[in-house]
């Protein structure tokens, strides 16, 4: 499907793209500056609100849109159940390569033993306009998993900042339609060259590296490593790492009852193995009572169990869990120490 040839979108015409998306989709999301120097994906009301070209946002945008933090599975009234699928068309602009790759991992988790209908009803109505990274920070390590800074698939449109214009690549039929509607001119060879130069430039700035050779084996042998005890003392159990991780998929299910005591909803909400209650069983038992066991689970899930479960590591190197951890726990550093290098 992917088309090697590209198109050109002048930066000053970028608002046209957003306006078009606003027409084509029910909702448009994009990165906004929520605080000085802090970016997060929010619903876009006006084209000017979108801020491209910044580093990773606080929360993982695609997970948040496709698997909302609070999601109603069904409504009930007495014993009767009513299901409502959300099939709004959503366009999401300016997603980074690591996040698109994160979504691909989530796809796996949610089609494990049968597809999740709620997830896929949103997922199949998503228009992804991704943006290759032209900037990275100290905690990005996507190159270790080959999940960035350049995206190869999983997008409808892919933009790269090449100066005062964007190179736009098409990744799907939907993407092609958008390009046609915008009537974009074709890119020239030097535009493609410029893209490569810029991406290589960014690659050079990504210094954080996780050695993935033998990583799974190393992690398998690490279950009784003293490092977990040490981390258990530092870790706050706040769960920030898993909330901001684009691939963490766990959830809690429960009911909300209305005052009439008959009607209500069954919902699911993001959960995390970092929380004590997550692993609680009847009569106060808990299979990960110690914080050390919980952080061991989090890191091993990403760098070890995922491989067994879904054939790939569960991390895309976005660096969010490192950036946001109040206790400065760094998954790369942990793996490095366990590997003894």
């Amino acid at each position: 499907m992917s088309n090697a040839e590209g198109f050109i979108l002048e930066k000053e015409s970028f608002p046209n793209l957003i306006s078009l998306l606003m027409k084509e989709a029910d909702e448009v999301y994009g990165p906004k500056e929520v605080n000085a120097g802090v970016y997060d994906f929010r619903k876009i009301n006006k084209p000017e609100e979108v801020r491209l070209g910044e580093v990773t946002t606080v929360t993982p945008p695609l997970k948040k849109v496709v698997r909302p933090p609070f999601e109603v599975l069904f409504k009930f009234k007495g014993e009767e159940i009513e299901v409502d699928y959300d099939s709004k068309i959503r366009a999401i602009v300016g997603v980074h390569p690591c996040d698109v790759n994160g979504l691909k991992l989530l796809d796996k988790a949610y089609s494990n033993a049968g597809k999740d209908p709620y997830y896929f009803s949103r997922r199949s109505n998503l228009i992804i306009v991704a943006e290759n990274c032209t900037r990275a920070d100290d905690n990005c390590f996507c190159t270790s998993f080959d999940t960035g800074p350049e995206l190869r698939e999983g997008y409808d449109l892919l933009m790269t900042d090449i100066g005062n214009r964007y190179l736009v690549e098409v990744g799907s039929v939907n993407g092609e339609k958008l390009v046609t509607k915008l009537n974009l001119p074709h890119a020239k060879d030097e535009d493609l060259k410029e893209k490569n130069t810029r991406i290589n430039l960014v690659k050079g700035t990504i210094r954080k590296k996780l050695n993935t050779v033998n990583l799974k084996r190393t992690m398998e042998g690490s279950l009784y490593h003293p490092i977990w005890k040490e981390l258990g003392e530092k870790c706050l159990s706040c769960g920030i790492c898993s909330v901001v991780c684009p691939t963490c998929f766990c959830f809690e299910m429960d009911d909300k009852l209305n005052l009439d005591q008959k009607s209500g909803v069954r919902y699911r909400t993001w959960d995390s193995c970092m929380f004590f209650e997550y692993s609680e069983v009847a009569l106060g038992g808990n299979f990960r009572r110690a914080r050390s066991a919980r952080i061991r689970q989090f890191i091993n899930h990403k760098l070890n169990y995922w491989v067994d479960q879904f054939g790939t590591f569960g991390c895309v190197g976005c660096g969010r869990c490192i950036r946001q951890c109040p206790a400065n726990i760094d998954i790369v550093e942990v793996a490095r120490r366990i590997g003894g290098s």
């Binding site: 014993e79 999740d116 709620y118 959830f251 009911d255 009847a282 808990n286 689970q297 169990y305």
Partner: protein
């Protein structure tokens, strides 16, 4: 959107019988509201989720005869929100059902071998379908030892079925309790379940062990069985983990890379021992 089966929607069932087992355990017999669903079959060792809309959902072992198409049973201990709510329900009340889930006991692998069933407390519940199965297909298996332990005689479930079980040819039922309260008569063993192991008739190299009970009990029992030279591959345990979705999405039930709801709840020690995370 192409139609994806929604595995989160419970089916309606109604309570057709309630039996009190102990002070805080009851066995509920259910039937589906829609008749065609009553043909449903499960494998011994499977479990299901029960919903009371408004109170939530929880996992329970299927405890009835797996070949009985007209009804099924769950044996429920009152421990929290969902279970207390169900505990107060009566014949005719409606609940929600999802399942059956899980892999079940390795009954076909056990054909021609001796069987050892080890249960602690409520852990007898998932083994009851195995006993039904044995009684119907007695010739498939060698000797059967059932070792059952509970805290006190009053905590034992299915007590009025013990006699029937003992009447099955070549089935030996051994009972033990931790404590015998004053004034209670008890003719059987006193001590933890491993104190019964000396009575096991099965030969380690040609038998399958199926075990369910508190994890700490299973830990000691497993260690002893391994010392008695039962091979890891033939010792099976049924594990309890927190469970929400039942369909490998919610993540709660993971043990290492395994999802208890799909890859379990029955595991051989070879697959999972030593457990990375034990219920404490």
């Amino acid at each position: 959107m192409e139609a994806i089966k929604n595995q989160y929607i419970p089916k309606k069932i109604k309570i057709i019988e309630v039996k009190e087992e102990t002070k805080d355990v009851k066995t509920f017999k259910f039937q589906f509201l829609s008749q065609e669903e009553n043909r449903f079959n499960f494998k011994p060792g499977n479990f299901n989720l029960l919903s009371k809309l408004g109170a939530g959902e929880a996992a329970f072992s299927l405890t009835s005869d797996s070949e009985e198409g007209n009804y099924f049973e769950n044996t429920i201990r009152k421990v929290g929100r969902v279970t207390s709510t169900i505990f107060n329900m009566k014949v005719g009340d409606i609940l929600g059902f999802r399942g059956p889930f899980g892999n079940g006991w390795p009954l076909s692998k056990a054909v021609g071998m001796d069987l050892v069933l080890i249960a602690g407390g409520l852990g007898l519940a998932p083994l009851r379908p195995v006993i039904y199965h044995i009684s119907k297909h007695r010739s498939f298996y060698g000797s059967v030892d059932i070792l059952y332990g509970a805290r006190t005689p009053m905590d034992m479930i299915y007590t009025n079925e013990f006699k029937l079980w003992q009447e099955i040819p070549d089935v030996k039922l051994e009972l033990t309790v931790d404590v015998v309260p004053n004034g209670v008569s008890w003719k059987h063993n006193v001590g933890v379940v491993t104190t019964l192991f000396k009575n096991i008739r099965a030969k380690p190299d040609s038998s399958v062990v199926m075990m369910c009970g508190p994890e700490i009990m299973m830990k000691f029992a497993s260690e002893l069985l391994l010392r008695m030279e039962f091979p890891k591959e033939n010792v099976y345990v049924s594990l309890e983990r927190r469970m929400r979705c039942g369909v490998t999405k919610c993540g709660h039930c993971q043990i290492g890379p395994k999802f208890v709801c799909r890859d379990g709840p029955v595991f051989s020690l070879a697959e999972i021992w030593p457990l990375p995370d034990v219920i404490e």
